[in-house]
Structure formats: structure tokens, C-alpha cells
Symmetry: C2
Subunit: 313 residues, 2 copies
């Protein structure tokens, strides 16, 4: 299958590498020139569960796609949320009538953007539990195992979704066809929509936050907004189960002592956050359905203020 990895950071590199090794015709696309040049010169280098791997995979800067003769069967989107639209514009020369697009970005509501560039029935959406780390230009660390769920958004496209699932699973990416992908995306967004913004605002790890008297009240207020907005879209979520899942993040024996990714983006690396595609998406969808979402709104605003004060880019 002719596959474009659109956004070839750590996770995109993992998918690209594994799909290339299983025999697909893969190209990597990204906006980081140094990374692209390094891959083209020396191959994509990976520490894959302890094994040193180098694979020659063609890589392109997203601004250089105009003359590339590559009509993709499948595009897998792995950009940061705020880079999605620019990437979709860049990809135009490689999109054919029947190119399928699988969106694996974190957050909610990306299909509202993608559908302006791709027929709705060719959009597939997924949720991945794989991890990956970027070591530097051209080099990633890929430890552990994972899986992903995916589903067609368009009616009657189950077979196409299952075909994508098959290609990914043949690459040992452990893909499963899901019957309620939006629910699992919302469940993940509930965790990100609490831990990310709150720990970033509070300069805390998850154990510190979870140990405070008001943690439960705050988390419940935010999750209630997610659940209410989901329900308006006929996505049924089990709120007590989600609250229990969030509480697991507080455990210092597992992940509690970590700072969530948004904290790392903003506080450590001074980068703009994805808040608009997590809590901010709930605010936008809430407005569509006439649902009040003040906790998500305030948290989104506070994170944006913090980005501006810190001069994040």
C-alpha cells in the first residue's frame, strides 16, 4: 500500500518504520527540515526494543510535495493539532479521489478540519496506545508494545476500515476495528482534558494534584462537561468509569510522578499547547449544542494566557 506518514515525529516515525518493514511503500512527511535531511542522508535510525535499526525511507519536507509523484492510498495524520490544516494543504498534490485518511491526532473534532480537504467517507479516525520518543533529528527510541483502535466516520465504510486495520496489523501495530471510536477518543480526551491543563496551570505532577482536597470536585466538573457534550452527539460515556480511570493517574507507583505532556510542551519546552483541541473543542462543540462549559472555557483561557506570558511558540 502507498502510505504517507503526515507528521513524522516520534510516533509517525514508529508507524512509518513498522509499515515500511512490513512491505508497504511508505514516505515520511514533516515540517522539521533537519530531521528530514538526516533521514534522507543516513536513513531513519531507531532503537527498536533494544535493537539498532536503520531503514532507508524517502522523507519530504511538507513544503516540497508539489513535484512528488506519489498518489497515496492511505495518509496517516500524526501532526500536532495546530499544524493539521497546514499539513493538509501541503498534502494536496498527493491526495487522489480515493485516498483514505486516518487521523491519529490527540484531541477532539479534527474531522471538522479534515473534511474540508478529503471526502467525509474517506476519513477514518483512531486512537493509539503506542508510545515513542524522539532522540534528535533522524533518530527515535521505540520501546514496549501498544495497539490502536480505528473506525470509519462515513456510513458503510466498515470494510475499508477493516482493510486499514489489516495493513496496520500486518506491520505488528496491533490495530483493531472499533464500533465506538468516538467514545474511546472522548474517554482519552477526558484524561487529557483534566490532567494536562490542570497540572500545567498548577506546576504539579499528577500525584501532587490528585492528593489535594479539591481534586475530585474539579475533575468531576470538567468531566461532566465532556460527558454532556458527548451525549449531545449520541456518544455515551460511563462517567464513573472515566473518573476512576483518571484517579489511576494519581498513583505514584505508576505514572503519578510524571508531568503530563502539556506541561512538558509549555513549561519545559516553551511550546504552544493543544488545549484548543481538548478542552477548547468541548467549548466549541458545547456552543453548537447550547451546552454551558465554563470549566473547559476558563481552563482553555488560562492556558492560553500562560502561553502568551511565557512567549511560547
Amino acid at each position: 500500500m502507498k502510505i504517507i506518514i503526515a507528521g513524522s515525529g516520534a510516533m509517525g516515525s514508529r508507524f512509518g518504520l513498522m509499515l515500511h518493514r512490513s512491505g508497504n511503500d511508505v514516505i515520511l512527511v514533516d515540517g522539521w527540515k533537519e530531521h528530514i535531511d538526516k533521514i534522507n542522508n543516513d536513513g531513519l535510525q531507531a532503537n527498536l526494543n533494544g535493537e539498532e535499526v536503520v531503514e532507508k525511507i524517502p522523507a519530504y519536507h511538507q513544503d516540497d510535495l508539489a513535484d512528488v509523484d506519489f498518489s497515496a492510498d492511505l495518509v496517516i495524520l500524526f501532526t500536532k493539532a495546530m499544524q493539521l490544516e497546514t499539513m493538509l494543504k501541503s498534502l494536496q498534490p498527493c491526495l487522489a479521489e480515493e485516498t483514505k485518511v486516518l487521523c491519529l491526532l490527540n484531541g477532539i473534532g479534527h474531522e471538522d478540519i479534515i473534511k474540508n480537504y478529503v471526502k467525509f467517507e474517506n476519513i477514518f479516525i483512531g486512537n493509539t496506545m503506542w508510545t515513542a520518543g524522539m532522540d534528535g533529528p533522524g533518530r527515535v527510541t521505540l520501546f514496549g508494545s501498544g495497539s490502536l483502535d480505528l473506525q470509519n466516520l462515513g456510513a458503510g465504510k466498515e470494510e475499508a476500515a477493516k482493510e486499514i486495520t489489516k495493513v496496520l496489523s500486518e506491520a505488528e501495530l496491533h490495530a483493531n476495528f472499533s464500533e465506538d471510536i468516538l467514545a474511546s477518543i472522548y474517554r482519552k480526551a477526558c484524561v487529557n482534558g483534566t490532567m494536562n491543563g490542570l497540572c500545567t496551570m498548577l506546576n504539579s505532577n499528577m500525584t501532587e494534584f490528585g492528593g489535594t482536597t479539591y481534586a475530585d470536585d474539579i475533575v468531576e466538573a470538567i468531566v461532566t462537561e465532556f460527558v454532556t457534550v458527548a451525549k449531545a452527539q449520541n456518544i455515551e460515556l460511563d462517567q464513573p468509569a472515566i473518573l476512576a480511570q483518571i484517579k489511576k493517574c494519581y498513583d505514584p507507583e505508576t505514572i503519578g510522578l510524571h508531568h503530563p505532556s502539556m506541561y512538558q510542551d509549555l513549561i519545559i519546552n516553551n511550546r504552544l499547547t493543544e488545549i484548543d483541541y481538548i478542552n477548547g473543542a468541548i467549548v466549541r462543540k458545547g456552543k453548537e449544542f447550547g451546552i454551558s462549559t465554563p470549566y473547559c472555557a476558563f481552563l482553555t483561557q488560562l492556558i492560553h494566557v500562560k502561553e502568551e506570558i511565557l512567549g511560547a511558540k
Copy 2:
């Protein structure tokens, strides 16, 4: 007049000193033993607009009032909000049937506590623009000028309020009888209810916060909650005027580069904040009147979480 200064920190010391110098029979009460001992040993020392002043004013720890023979005509309350109730309990031996109590604490709703200890008609409430600084035990710096407004809470007690005004003005404290003290207290609380909590959460000064894209939206959402809760109590506030007053705080040429007092309390001095008596009071009063106050609620919760994470005391 026999006057107790209940809470003799920087501002209480200013009022005590000026009322003592104008011929009143003043005692100072506080919970800080070192400060009380120093005043009793060496007098209250002040740099009063550049002049060195020492006044022998009797000072008592609030736990030592049981045997003090001092039946107050007037008690002026100057504690931190969270110390108010303990102070009122301690003051019992010095309260007579007709003792008047003037509350000059920051924040909203203190009368709900005071009325459990003093007849409602003897409660007076005020709003002071004086400043004062604590240099250390027994010593304060008192620069500049100021004024205060005050009013009776009980019906028909205007004359008593004016008498208190007269005593304070004779001490050059520039007191004015107000016809709408609750409105001016709410106006001040709107400034504190935005700048204090927000700059504390954001680790910013007022200019930094005010310069961000979302500052106006956040401030308006919070002030709207204050104004709505005030209106339910028949307190009419001019919202555009309050928003304009808050914007003045952003000016780097005046006070914009300062961190508000709550930031100093929590971030610099690791002390518990007065958030429950500013935004938290709006949440409580909102519940009484069935008014939704999510921005005040979330901000109050966030500040409490931050207090706990920092181990504030």
C-alpha cells in the same frame, strides 16, 4: 473613646497609633506573640511619613484577654479573614451590650460571621484606602495618606456610624460616612477577585496578565458573577466602570508591575490566601440566590489546590 484594635498588623498598628495619638484609650490585640511583647517592652515604633515615632500603647495577645478589664466602646476588626472568628471568640470578655464593631477586613460577607457575636445593629462596615507596611515585631512603616468609607449595617444606626466617622477623622484617618458601603466593598472585591487569584495562578504581575489576548474575556466572566450576585442583594454596580478600573491595574507606569497581595501571601510567603472571602464568598452567596458562579468556583478551587501543593500555612 475606648477602642480595641483587633488584629494589630501593619494596618491595625496604623489605626491604633493614630487613634491613640488623638487622645483615645486604645489597646492593641493580636495573635503574634513576638509583636505584642515587643510593643509592651519598647512601645509601638513607626516611621510615620519619615518621622520616627514611638508610642506606649497597651498590647495583648488575643489568648490573654480573659482578665483584662477593658469594656470597649468600639472594636475595629483588622484580622486576616480566616482569623476573624477566632478573634471574635477571644474578644468576648471585652464586648459589652453596646460595643460597636467596625469591620475593615478585605473581602465580602464577614457580617455573616460577626453577627453571631455582636448584635446586628452594632455592626458597622467599612472600606479603607490607607496603606501600611510591617517591618518586623513592634515596628511599622506608615507612608502617604488615605481615607475610609463606612456605614451602619443595622437600620436607623446612621448617627452611630457618623459618631465613629468623627472619632476616626479627629485622628486624621479621613473617614467618610457612606450611603452605599456594600457597593464600594463589592467594587474593591471585583478588583481583588480578578487580579489576586489570576496573577497568583499565572505567576504573573498585572501588566503581564493584562497584556494577553484572553485577559478581557476572563475578567469580564468573573466580574459578571460578582455583579449578578450583588444585584440579587439589591447592590447595584456599574459593570463597565468596574472593568475600566481593573484595566487601570495593568498600567506599568502605576501599579501594573506589582504582584497582588495574594501572590505575595501564597507564592512569596507560603501563607494561606483569603480566596474564600473574595471569589469563594461569591460562590456561597450565589448558591443562596441560585446564581451560577463557575469562574469564581473554579478559581477558588485552583487557589486552594495550589495552597495545598505548596504546603501553605
